[in-house]
């Protein structure tokens, strides 16, 4: 097997691992933070709400970065 096809296989495996192992935990974290930030389980004080909003925004940033890698892994992974 050539070095190039080995690299392609490695990239495909990496993308598959990200799909399997990263999306679901991220979905859980995002949903849990959103539920608490929206005060579904109970009231928050303003500071708690602000911190959870920051957390939620940064989860969204992380999701966007991961989606970019998954959408075009060849560019992102070199």
């Amino acid at each position: 097997m050539s070095q190039k096809s080995d690299l392609e296989k490695l990239k495909n495996e990496l993308v598959s691992i990200i799909e399997h192992k990263v999306r679901t935990p991220l979905a859980v974290i995002k949903e849990a933070v959103s539920l608490v930030a929206e005060e579904v389980p109970g009231k928050l004080n303003p500071k708690q709400k602000k911190l959870l909003t920051i957390t939620k925004n940064n989860i969204d940033r992380l999701v966007t970065s991961i989606e970019e890698i998954l959408t075009n892994p060849w560019d992102k992974l070199g």
Binding site: E19, H20, R23, T24, P25, L26, A27, V28, K30, E31, A32, S34, L35, V40, P41, D60, V63, T64, I66, E67, E68, L70
Partner: protein
């Protein structure tokens, strides 16, 4: 419409807890299953009005579960819930009466609103059948 029973089937307990809480917050009654066999038992009991089915589950995956489910109930609205990209999920499920494929998480769409919209579409199917 409130009071409809939604069966959420996913092998991740944390998904059942978080997405389940979200579904309940929209006014639905929640039923949960951690695997395809349990989901089929619940469908067989006639309890759920709508099924939200994880695509990737161990033992009996979402697609296999969906095929078995259609032998029990041809009409119950099913939403496929997936960590994969849509193309992978749709493959093999085209003719099995899936209302929508909803990503568990996406940078390009609001998954939460997509699930709510899919449940709304499913409700309309139920209403149409009741007429």
């Amino acid at each position: 419409m409130s009071g409809l029973r939604v069966l959420l089937a996913d092998d991740e307990q944390d998904i059942l807890e978080t997405i389940g809480t979200r579904i309940e917050s929209w006014g639905y009654d929640l039923l949960t299953a951690l695997d395809g066999d349990r989901a089929l038992e619940i469908v067989n009991s006639g309890k759920p009005d709508i099924v939200v089915l994880d695509y990737l589950m161990p033992k009996k995956n979402g697609l296999v579960t969906l095929k078995a489910l259609r032998k029990i109930n041809r009409d119950i609205p099913v939403i496929m819930f997936t960590a994969y990209s849509d193309e992978k999920s749709i493959k093999g499920a085209e003719n099995l009466g899936v209302i929508a494929f909803v990503p568990k998480i996406s940078a390009y769409s609001d998954s939460q609103q997509a699930l709510r919209a899919a449940l709304g579409m499913a409700e309309k199917t139920i209403v149409r059948e009741d007429i």
